[in-house]
């Protein structure tokens, strides 16, 4: 496999994110695989943001520690990223624009601003000039660059398209003529019809496919992309997207909408989820199916608003007062996010429970090639009782006690009887009760009966090279990519990997069968408390021997993880 890591850095407001999107499209157009991450600060202007694209001849699932090519669009970027370059790597900068006079053998001086002014007649085309320079440095032909820019700027008119192409072309030519490092050359291939998806988009597309018709949220990084994607397709798919006044309103609107019969979802991050905890409890008590997304970021409190962490695991398992059954999915890839969003609605309605999807900034913002054929679709079944099944105008009981624990769920005004739902403890009819015996039966229904059914519908752990493994790495959520890539790079048959796309109810039986007593279990977690290790211990009795933890707000890169695995697995 040939691969390169390319980083573009600049202060907020310089358009680093746009360059990232264009670069990803260029590499995809050149038939290559990529994995990109965004590293941005919680500010609108200034600071230092960067995007890092790992581009390769084969699929890649995680980021690297060091970059082969680093493009610094401002002075602080040069100083900040110089130390994080790959051996033999190159730092691209416009020396005269940034005011650097000295020589440095690792620098490639590219007059990006002069190119933009000359070819595009404006400094604002510096981003396209940079894209052209990068494409030229890695010896990609100009054709895919042109195709991508035409499409990216089509809405802004022919003049803008032409100016961007001119700036990119001149940048491309400049690099072809002035930069010669064959080791950094990439081999283009025919473009595949893959999708470029980040986790937020994949999740939203899954929800749209599942027939989610109402979405309400309060904007909160890094979950906001879910709402933006839902809003973008709202008219197309007949969805109402409503920005709530706060997360409490968001979850209660979603519950109201679901009670009235539509599939509804909300998305937030940890702090917003904290505000939704009472609503979660209400959904459980009223047995109203809802889907909640927690795109995690580092806490406590406001924490690192734009960065990544997996520290809400215990919180989500325990959030909400009282005792009730819930489901928590933890997708590791865009494909899983797409599937589990659909599964979430299916399970929420089938068992009338709240279902949570736990992602994080890494999954939410990272982009990968996804093959459309690899996406799984779930046939929709509402698990509702019809007018006929619901009986006469006085016979329907919303909370009817049944042997399975699942009561008939009907849609208000679509049956002959009226429907009551109550957050107080209630009778089968949904009216307030103080009766101890009824209380006992209702608690059993909401907690143990549902939990036993949900345990039969667990999304199984994904086992990779576990047959002969002496060491088993275990992760959930976005660590999937880094662990997979690390295991592949280590090429050690004694090291295997278990990914958990569902953490609650915990897949105890399947996990124990895989891990048993045969192997040493090491968890890999983006948190400080080894929460997954604790969960495994509590749910299976298997005691993980060690945990590889990272809680600096940044994702695992495969190089760091490889070193840590070697240390831990000794």
């Amino acid at each position: 496999m040939t691969e390169l890591t390319i980083k573009v850095s600049g202060e907020a407001g310089l358009g680093v994110q746009t360059i990232g999107e264009v670069l990803c499209r260029i590499f995809k157009a050149a038939g290559l695989y990529l994995f990109s991450i965004q590293d941005y600060m919680s500010r609108v202007r200034g600071g230092n943001n960067f995007i890092q694209v790992r581009v390769a001849s084969e699929p890649v699932f995680s980021c690297r520690e060091r970059a082969h090519i680093t493009v610094a669009l401002d002075r602080p970027g040069v100083l900040l990223h110089q130390a994080r370059m790959e051996t033999g790597g190159v730092l691209v900068l416009d020396r005269s624009h940034l005011g650097f006079s000295g020589e440095n053998s690792a620098w490639f001086d590219a007059p990006l601003y002069a190119i933009a002014e000359n070819a595009g007649k404006s400094a604002r085309y510096v981003n396209s000039a940079a894209c052209g320079v990068i494409a030229g440095m890695v010896r990609l032909p100009f054709a895919p660059v042109k195709r991508v820019l035409e499409r990216a700027f089509a809405k802004k008119g022919a003049a803008v398209v032409e100016a961007n192409i001119a700036a990119a072309k001149e940048g491309h030519g400049y690099a072809m003529g002035n930069f010669h490092l064959p080791a950094l050359a990439l081999e283009p291939a025919p473009e595949r019809p893959d999708l470029l998806l980040n986790g937020n988009e994949a999740l939203a597309l899954g929800a749209i496919q599942a027939g989610c018709k109402f979405f309400s949220a309060y904007p909160m990084s890094p979950s906001t992309g879910v709402m933006e994607t839902m809003a973008h397709y709202a008219d197309n798919a007949g969805i109402i997207v409503e920005q709530a006044e706060d997360e409490i309103a968001a979850v209660n609107m979603v519950i109201g909408a679901s009670f009235a019969g539509v599939r509804a979802m909300t998305a937030t991050s940890g702090g917003g989820f904290a505000l939704m905890a009472e609503g979660l409890s209400l959904a459980a008590m009223t047995e109203t199916p809802i889907v909640m997304v927690d795109a995690q970021r580092p806490g406590p409190a406001t924490g690192f608003p734009t960065r990544t962490e997996q520290a809400d695991l215990n919180f989500l398992i325990h959030a909400g007062h009282g005792e009730f059954a819930r489901v928590i999915y933890s997708p590791g890839t865009a494909e899983e996010a797409f599937f589990l969003a659909q599964k979430a609605f299916e399970v929420a309605e089938k068992y009338q429970v709240p279902v949570m999807i736990m992602t994080d900034q890494t999954l939410a913002d990272s982009v990968r090639n996804v093959s459309a054929e690899s996406l799984d679709f779930i046939k929709i079944n509402r698990h509702l009782v019809s007018k006929e099944e619901s009986g006469s105008a006085s016979s329907y009981k919303r909370y009817q006690l049944t042997p399975s624990g699942i009561s008939p769920r009907a849609v208000p005004s679509r049956i002959a009887d009226v429907i009551y739902a109550d957050s107080d403890e209630h009778t089968e009819e949904g009216h307030i009760t103080e009766d101890g015996a009824m209380r006992t039966r209702m608690v059993e229904k909401r907690l143990s009966l549902k939990l036993s059914l949900l345990r039969k519908e667990i999304v199984p752990p994904e086992a990779y090279r576990t047959e002969n493994a002496k060491v088993l790495l275990v992760g959930f959520g976005s660590t999937y990519g880094a662990i997979l890539d690390a295991v592949n790079r280590l090429e050690n048959p004694g090291i295997g990997f278990i990914h958990l796309p569902q953490v609650w109810p915990f897949p105890a039986e399947a996990f124990t069968a895989l891990a048993g007593k045969k192997a040493r279990v090491i968890t890999v977690e983006n948190n400080a408390g080894a929460q997954l290790a604790g969960l495994i211990r509590r749910e299976t009795g298997v005691a993980p021997e060690a945990s590889i933890l990272k809680f600096d707000g940044r994702p695992f890169d495969v190089d760091f993880l490889e070193r840590e695995i070697k240390k831990a697995a000794k």
Binding site: L195, G238, G261, A264, V411, I415, Y420, D422, H431
Partner: protein, 283 residues
């Protein structure tokens, strides 16, 4: 429809003589006149004595969380715009715990009717000050009376552009029923603050106290006149006006959001969705 169509079999847990009974009767009378089937009505409430009302009227009922009746009601209305959605809430539920939702749902203007049982006291927690408790009323918690200025919900609603602002009195259920029916037929967010004696915990604002003070707005009062509506909304103390104080028309949430143009969301064919048609955007 007759009153018995809306008769619930559930046992009522209010105190004898409670002002809530007058409101319950008024809602029933309004629903009879409205003429819709019980299953086409949805009563949504939060928590408190007022919030028990949905159980005591035969219609769909969603009795949710304290302070959160409004978002649940709006969610349900968006899901099925054909439902007649009525919120029954109290001064603590709506103005205290749920104050933020009150502000923003006036702005949102979904076509729902909000009846606030305003007894100026917390009943279910046994007698603490509510946001509308007058200064000087001592309680076991507010031992010197509330320190905060009472909230002025009617003036607030007018300032926020609420299109239907009314005040009723629970002891005059015919008049209140008429206001409720007007509120239901008004397109957009309709707000009715109902003066409601609490026989157990509010020893100041009693039936006798109100009887001496309330009066019906002169037919000459023009609810479209915002300045005069403010004046009437601010009137408190010796003379307390009842009736439709302010009315104006503006597009509802359903019209602005596209809900009105779609079939009720609840009837959407979910299997008609195919996101493969969107994949080109990501290719």
């Amino acid at each position: 429809m007759i009153l018995d169509d809306f008769k619930s079999g559930d046992e009522v847990a209010w105190c004898p003589g409670c002002g809530n009974f007058g409101i319950q009767n008024a809602v029933k009378k309004a629903l009879v006149k409205l003429g819709r089937r019980p299953q086409d009505i949805l009563l949504v409430s939060g928590i408190g004595q007022a919030a028990k009302l949905p159980h005591y009227i035969r219609s769909n009922g969603f009795n949710g969380l304290h302070g959160r009746a409004l978002p649940a009601a709006v969610g349900a209305k968006i899901a099925n715009r054909e439902l007649t959605v009525i919120v029954t809430t109290g001064d603590g539920d709506c103005y205290g715990e749920g104050g933020n939702h009150f502000l923003h749902n006036i702005r949102r203007n979904a076509d729902i009717t909000v009846i606030v049982h305003d007894n100026q006291i917390y009943g279910l927690t046994k007698g603490q000050a509510s946001p509308t408790t007058d200064r000087g009323m001592e309680t076991r918690v507010q031992t010197r009376g509330p320190l905060s200025e009472p909230l002025h919900p009617l003036e607030m609603a007018i300032a926020l552009g609420c299109g239907f602002v009314a005040r009723g009195y629970s002891a005059d259920s015919d008049h209140l029923a008429d206001l409720i029916l007007q509120g239901i037929t008004h397109k957009g967010f309709s707000f009715i603050d109902v003066l409601q004696p609490c026989v157990s915990f509010n020893k100041v604002n009693t039936y006798e106290w109100y009887a001496k003070r309330v009066y019906k707005l002169d037919p000459a009062h023009d609810p479209a006149d915002k300045a005069s509506a403010y004046q009437k909304a601010a009137e408190w103390g010796d003379h307390i006006p009842l009736g439709l104080i302010y009315k104006s028309e503006r597009p509802s949430y359903e019209e602005l959001s596209g809900v009105a143009a779609l079939p009720p969301l609840v009837d959407a064919d979910l299997n008609a969705v195919n996101v493969r048609t969107l994949f080109a955007d990501f290719q």
